[in-house]
Chain length 233, copies 2
């Protein structure tokens, strides 16, 4: 019987996934090597390699140089989440976008901000607080610090009409960053700007981004109570 050959890495990935899900290959078990799989599937070894690497990236296989590839004992599934520009997120919900600058000033960083950004205590920073709204209802507070290396006096003027979130995307590209998700109880500051009750549960995103090794900015986004991020695994 002539076996059907698998033409591309996606179909190899699918076949390998089927074998894991059907328990033909069980958790912890060593799977055949790439050369043998390539022969079985009638495809190039590089095609098998790409499929296995993709499944390893997804946490379903454990690959060890020399020790071979095993089905993961404790699969760590991954969820990939989009991080859109806030204006675009609000427009995509079908709402009218609004922006209010609350404050913007040049200063030196408070200790926790200096630590987050890896700055000297006397370094220059810009501190901006603004509120993005959807249909005239507060949506999220953007509480942001930017290293002043990246912002000229002319740029400061812009923040009256353009959020730093949006300005940074088009003016200062970042190469990497850290992001964290948590929940906080709204204090007086949050309750006043979001128009919510004191103590209400708010979803929070903390994000620090770098251009190569230099920190550009750190931001805390505090969403109005009820906010929810949906994604897929």
């Amino acid at each position: 019987m002539k076996r059907e050959t698998l033409k591309n890495w996606q179909s190899v990935r699918k076949e390998v996934l089927n074998r894991i899900h059907s328990r033909q290959w069980k958790p912890g078990e060593l799977i055949p090597n790439e050369a043998d799989l390539a022969q079985e599937f009638g495809c190039a070894r590089s095609t098998v390699n790409r499929a296995l690497q993709n499944l390893a990236d997804d946490g379903l296989l454990d690959r060890r140089r020399k020790a071979g590839t095993r089905v993961a004992m404790h699969p760590v599934r991954k969820a990939t989440m989009s991080i859109p520009v806030i204006r675009n997120e609000i427009i995509a919900r079908g709402s009218a976008y609004g922006y209010d600058l609350i404050s913007s000033e040049r200063s030196t960083p408070p200790p926790h901000v200096a630590a987050l950004m890896g700055l000297a205590p006397r370094a220059g920073v810009i501190h901006i607080v603004c509120v993005h709204s959807a249909d005239d209802t507060p949506y999220v507070i953007e509480d942001r610090w930017i290293s002043s290396d990246w912002v000229s006096p002319d740029d400061m003027v812009n923040f009256a009409n353009l959020s730093p979130n949006e300005w940074l995307v088009t003016h200062v590209p970042f190469t990497a960053g850290d992001i964290a998700f948590s929940a906080i109880s709204a204090g007086a500051f949050e309750a006043a700007l979001l128009g919510c009750e004191l103590g209400a549960a708010s979803f929070v995103i903390d994000r620090t981004t770098r251009n190569n090794e230099r920190t550009i900015t750190t931001v805390r986004l505090i969403f109005a109570p009820g906010y929810r991020i949906d994604t897929e695994i």
Copy 2:
């Protein structure tokens, strides 16, 4: 002068990323086609294709069949987050893992659960509530519904000692799912099980997973106040 050739898709990706970050290729601008880039880089067209596709997957390029490839106007960055088994997450923090089953029963689904799982009102479900703890401190409530198709009476016995989170990973593989992140104020139920104050802000993960088209389970994980997920972009 002989140009250095780019041997693999990763080095092509890096060069393209440099051109985007340095603004040699600006947001919205059409970039050269794959054949021209392959010639310039001295590599196969398929190598260029893989690099550009990867950058498009990351939201940095917009690819349109026939219309060519442009630098994204509004890059949508993505964050990839690991979803470990709760026991492993707690152990990885260096804490001792504990598990308490609060309740487990067979019933029919309440309307919101039937809707989430796509079940008939009379379908059989298992409802399990348990608490995972770290160093004897409540860490997260697992409030879970499982379609009874996947659970035998023998399996029910297991939940006294093994969380459904862990049991499902090793017994019922899933192929896809939805996941959402939000924040809630702890009510009486959450405050009692987490040992926190009424109204404290809790981080919440809602997850519904399927095996092909059939829903296996839907779970709400309610974390003790102060919980935070860290990841990278």
